[in-house]
């Protein structure tokens, strides 16, 4: 496959064969090398062949191989002629990140850091097979699927202000739980309010560097050493089941003939099945919003108990990393609605977009990019240029580099814990094997990923944060 270098950080796979548009990759030469090692670019090329795709099939700097679409893939489809694909969203619908700020500094919590983490570990259910604390009825679950984080706030988890600081205000209004299968509901009932396992985590962090003081302050990030809390999780088994269900329904309706990859299966957006998937996906998005809302509430409770007060624990923002949305974008000079798929990518709206909270609107949307375990995470800000460059999208994390299998061969969980401890980072986990699989060396260099985002202009650097306490599922 031909890859043409456009400039230092932009690479194009020119249109060939069945491609309707070119594919465009944002990466440094170093990141491109690792991206080339798996099927990422082939998958980006496959996406470029789908009906109704607009402009380009985009690939973010942290991309790696996914199912159907690559992880780190962004594609927008014409609302009338285009498609929607469960493989373009991923199995963990609305896997996302929530960031809380505090008025505490690293020094304030130094003596209580272990206790904070221990208490959070007790309070927030995590790990494989760990059920939530609430036994939900079917009717309550359906309410959650309809109302998302709003349900959580009404039920005493957090505040109205949190909703304003969440993508979609914590509720996708197109959700319709009647299209969700019984099996998905069954999987959702025991898992609400749980972190899960795999790459999901909760971190107590401190600000290590501020790149853009003015924007950082608007986001509530004032100084180096300030304590933040980051929560990374998704829609759990319910979302996974929605993805599986609709891949199957679409296969049954349209067949799989001619698909280079079975998870590329899709339905026209306007078709009944396309709409059913979209509305089910919105419901799963809501489940994930409610999930993070509850976990954030418990974290505040712990801070209140251990530190005496949840001082200034305001939500900076909550972003989706796996989602399809209907958004307005300028295409060939015309504002048009498109169905944009972000799979392992973060929305990065620039100044002026009405979807952004009023407080941030003059500056751009906060973009939260978690690093791998024990490494830095970043807060970026969306840009105006990103609208033209990537349909307002940027990276979502470090992106894996090494297989879990290989990570297990190379690392031991206990050894990683000891190394983190030497760096002043506390670690709690339900599984040492899980810790080894998530070793930071198994991931791409997040510093390099955000540097590309910044240089290309799809998300500009605001602050760098590092963990002081890590909780893994």
């Amino acid at each position: 496959m031909e890859i043409r270098q456009i400039n230092e950080f932009v690479w194009e796979i020119p249109k060939h064969g069945d491609m309707r548009v070119p594919a465009l990759l944002y990466a440094s030469a170093k990141l491109l090398e690792s991206i080339k090692r798996d099927l990422t670019l082939q998958q980006a090329r496959n996406v470029a062949c789908l009906p109704g795709i607009e402009r380009m099939s985009y690939v973010m700097p942290d991309a790696h191989q996914g199912y159907g679409f690559p992880i780190g893939g962004v594609a927008a489809f014409d609302i009338d002629k285009g498609i929607i694909s469960p493989g373009g969203v991923g199995y963990d619908i609305n896997c996302g990140v929530r960031l809380l700020r505090t008025d505490y500094t690293e020094k304030d919590i130094a003596a209580r850091r272990k206790e904070l983490l221990t208490e959070i570990f007790k309070e927030v259910p995590a790990g494989v097979g760990k059920g939530g604390i609430t036994k939900l009825s079917h009717s309550v679950l359906k309410e959650i699927l309809t109302k998302g984080a709003e349900w959580a706030v009404e039920s005493g988890y957090g505040t109205r202000e949190d909703l304003l600081m969440t993508e979609e205000n914590g509720r996708m209004k197109d959700a319709d739980s009647s299209y969700i299968s019984e099996r998905a509901l069954e999987r959702g009932i025991p898992q609400l309010g749980t972190l899960g396992a795999g790459n999901h985590f909760l971190e107590i962090q401190k600000v290590s560097h501020i790149y853009d003081q003015a924007v950082a302050e608007v986001f509530g990030i004032e100084a180096e050493g300030q304590v933040l809390v980051m929560i990374h999780c998704g829609s759990r088994g319910l979302g996974h089941q929605v993805a599986s269900d609709y891949i199957e329904k679409m296969e049954n309706a349209f067949g799989i003939k001619g698909l280079p990859d079975r998870e590329l299966i899709n339905a026209p957006i306007r078709s009944p099945l396309g709409q059913q998937y979209y509305k089910s996906m919105c419901a799963a998005v809501n489940y994930a919003f409610a999930n993070r809302q509850m976990i954030a509430h418990w974290v505040r409770d712990v801070f209140a108990r251990v530190m005496g007060s949840p001082r200034g624990m305001r939500q900076v923002y909550d972003v989706c990393h796996n989602v399809a949305k209907i958004e307005k974008h300028a295409i060939d000079g015309q504002a048009r609605e498109v169905c944009i798929h972000r799979k392992g990518a973060t929305r990065s709206f620039g100044p002026g977009r009405p979807e952004i909270p009023e407080t941030y609107r003059a500056y751009g949307q906060p973009v939260i990019i978690p690093g791998s375990m024990g490494t830095a995470s970043y807060i970026l800000v969306g840009t105006k240029e990103a609208e033209d460059l990537s349909f307002s999208s940027t990276a979502h994390g470090a992106g894996r580099l090494m297989s879990r299998h290989e990570a297990l061969r190379r690392f031991r969980g206990e050894q990683i814990r000891d190394e983190l401890e030497k760096k002043g980072i506390e670690l709690r986990s339900t599984s040492w094997k899980g810790v080894a699989e998530e070793a930071s060396a198994a991931y791409k260099d997040v510093d390099e990923v955000v540097r590309v985002s910044h240089e290309v202009g799809i998300g500009r650097l605001v602050a760098r944060v590092v963990p002081v306490g890590v909780m893994k599922g």
């Binding site: 090692r37 795999g198 599986s244 296969e251 998870e263 297989s403 299998h405 599922g473």
Partner: protein, 142 residues
């Protein structure tokens, strides 16, 4: 004993090959490989039995549905697969396939350690090769 399954490298998730002299045996071994990503299959008691019946438009979909049963039984009924018995795969009259089997295992997750969570079974790089023996390849989302 011959190897029942082996794990291969995959950037983000888990990829394995399962082997068998028959389709039934290979499917059973694929089930054990999937379960082994989450818990120690050998350490489970065998006190609970679950009857499983799935269908598929083709063998790939049949396999996907079969393996999904492990995740479903675990997440909704805390069932931990230890072994698969009485597997029978049949071709349906309309071109599809059906599978019946008995899952045997444990139902006390609090007594065990877990080392991973399989979110979903995928079609990515899925292969079912039928020669003198059967080789199945599966990638699961972790």
């Amino acid at each position: 004993m011959e190897k029942r399954y082996r794990f291969l490298d995959h950037t983000a998730d888990a990829k394995f090959q399962a082997f068998g002299r028959t389709l039934e045996e290979a499917f059973s071994n694929a089930a054990l490989a999937t379960a082994s990503l989450m818990w120690d299959v050998e350490a489970m008691s065998k006190k609970v039995k679950r009857r499983v019946r799935v269908e598929g438009r083709d063998l790939e979909q049949l396999l996907l549905h079969f393996l999904e049963e492990i995740i479903y039984a675990f997440e909704t009924q805390s069932f931990l697969l230890a072994s698969v018995e009485e597997v029978k795969i049949e071709a349906g009259p309309g071109g599809g396939f059906s599978l019946e089997a008995v899952f045997v295992g444990d139902n006390e997750p609090s007594k065990h350690k877990f080392h991973g969570e399989v979110k979903a079974v995928t079609y990515n790089e899925m292969k079912i090769e039928q020669n003198d023996s059967i080789t199945i390849q599966v990638v699961v989302d972790m």
